[in-house]
Amino acid sequence: MTADLLLQVSSLSVRQKGAHLLREISLTLGAGKCLAVVGPNGAGKTTLLRAVAGLIPPSSGSVRLLGNEAASLKPERRARVVGLVPQRLAHVPPFTVREFLELSGLERGEGSLSLVRHLERRLLTEISGGELQRVLIAGAVAQGAALLLLDEPTASLDPVGRKEVEGVLRACRESMGLSYIMVTHDVALAARAADSITIMRDGALVWTGNPQDSSLVSQLSDAYGCEFVQLAGDTRGPGLVVPV
């Protein structure tokens, strides 16, 4: 029933120190599909990614990966299904990019090297923020993950870095058939890159739909508490959704 689903989250709740971080979250994701998660700070977006990645145990509910209960999977096996791409690393040691990919398991995801061929001899400590994001995504691909969990991949990047990351994500999807869940505040990126968008607030999913849905703008306005407008689209995709 669920074997064709890459991810199935059912009634997932996470409580820590009496606080409800996630409330009754349910969502599914098929192979090759991309979901963007948006919402104000503290909505629980990153917690959701961490729970799916197995870094936080659920208080109730379940996370199933390829039909298997995520909690029952050994960490090594789980890492072959989901690859977390953090917003930033706790520490960036001076490995070369090539070494980093080898550590991630280059033999399983050879396509990852094509994403960073021009950087492979450079040290992680010497590349730009956009390049580091590119390398982190390539690392998740190298570990053989079918589902990438991207935590604000374009945060604190300049326009060139954002364009670079968007290009990498497109390549992952088009040439490798990977799925991803992307947490972002960049609604325009979410609208361009994802098949569906979900809005979170106070630890719960409040709305899920496709980027062309006419109610997206009003739902974003409700969630963020400020007015959003949709600019006219063109042949490259839906119109830009921006706060005013």
Partner: protein, 322 residues
């Protein structure tokens, strides 16, 4: 290829220094005397060889344990010495020597337990801070080390002169005149720790990026850290009980090795073992030949060398050490 050549070179050097350390001392012997002269054979095979082997395993163990601490804490300055674990073990051993009956097994057990308690205490204190960090961990380690040293000083002050003399020499960190049984235990602890850490090299590499990242790559950071602390507490506690605190080996050796061969622990662990062994056996040899028949503890040389060498490595390095 480069690391294999380096390993061969280090093994050759270690063999040569170990031979020299076996033949040299208050009295020098030649190879022919070592084999043909019964008195020389007795000195060499019953006294010096076990001591050299003990020093070799001691240096190797201290270096690989330092490398593991640095990976777990993501800090090039982390080691049982700098985090106060060695001082905690020394306090445990001292309490057993000066207050308890002073049985060797009891002293070792007390040092091992104290090393474990020290780690738990230092990590626990750091966790209670709202903003726990690697820097605060090192600060807590330094303060804990100073506290243990103060209590040790108090214990010495309350002891008689002969105990003070013994305690002072022991605390300077000297490779002891070891028996074969001590050398065998040292070998088991050192090779066992190094072998286990080498098998965990991939996990240690991933730990350099942070607990969350390692966890997302299939590592259990808490389980790995716990195992490292248990294994190293036993090794550090036992070695401190035998020969006091020999500082800096666990800091300067892995730092130098990383500069030579990079960060991968599949190379860092075995090469640190060889360099650490070479350093301690060399320092012990120096201590025995500079002022014969008196001996300068190896810990004096590692302390005198340690600080300047580490600063030199830091200044010469083009990149971060870790």
């Amino acid at each position: 290829m480069r690391s294999k050549l380096l390993a061969l070179l280090l093994m050759g050097l270690l063999g040569a220094v170990a031979c020299a350390a076996t033949l040299c001392g208050a009295r020098q012997y030649s190879f022919s005397e070592a084999i043909g002269n019964p008195e020389a054979s007795q000195v060499i095979f019953q006294l010096r060889l076990p001591r050299v082997l003990f020093g070799l395993f001691l240096g190797g163990a201290l270096a690989v344990i330092g490398a593991a601490y640095q990976a777990i804490f993501r800090n090039a300055l982390a080691s049982p010495f700098s985090l106060g674990v060695s001082s905690g073990a020394a306090l445990g051993a001292s309490l057993a020597i000066f207050i308890g009956p002073g049985w060797p097994v009891g002293v070792s057990a007390s040092a091992i337990v104290a090393a474990g308690v020290s780690i738990v205490l230092i990590l626990g204190l750091n966790q209670t801070r709202a903003a726990a960090s690697q820097e605060s961990l090192l600060l807590i380690g330094v303060v804990f080390s100073l506290f243990c040293s103060s209590v040790l000083t108090l214990i010495q002050y309350l002891s008689d002169y002969s105990q003070i003399f013994r305690a002072t020499r022991w605390m300077l960190g000297a490779v002891p005149p070891a028996s074969w049984s001590a050398a065998v235990v040292a070998g088991l602890l050192a090779v066992g720790s190094a072998g286990w850490l080498w098998r965990s090299h991939h996990k240690l590499d991933l730990m350099l990026f942070g607990d969350d990242f390692a966890s997302a790559r299939g590592v259990d950071p808490e389980g790995l850290s716990r195992s490292v602390f248990v294994v190293t507490s036993v090794a550090v506690g036992w070695f401190v009980a035998q020969c006091g605190v020999i500082g800096f080996v666990g800091i300067i050796v892995p730092a130098a090795v990383r500069l030579m061969v990079g960060l991968h622990h599949r190379r860092v662990v075995p090469l640190s073992f060889l360099v650490g062994a070479l350093l301690v056996v060399s320092c012990d040899l120096m201590g025995r030949v500079v002022t014969p028949p008196f001996e300068v503890p190896a810990g004096v040389f590692t302390a005198v060398l340690g600080g300047p060498v580490f600063v030199a490595l830091l200044l010469r390095s083009r990149h971060e050490l870790l």
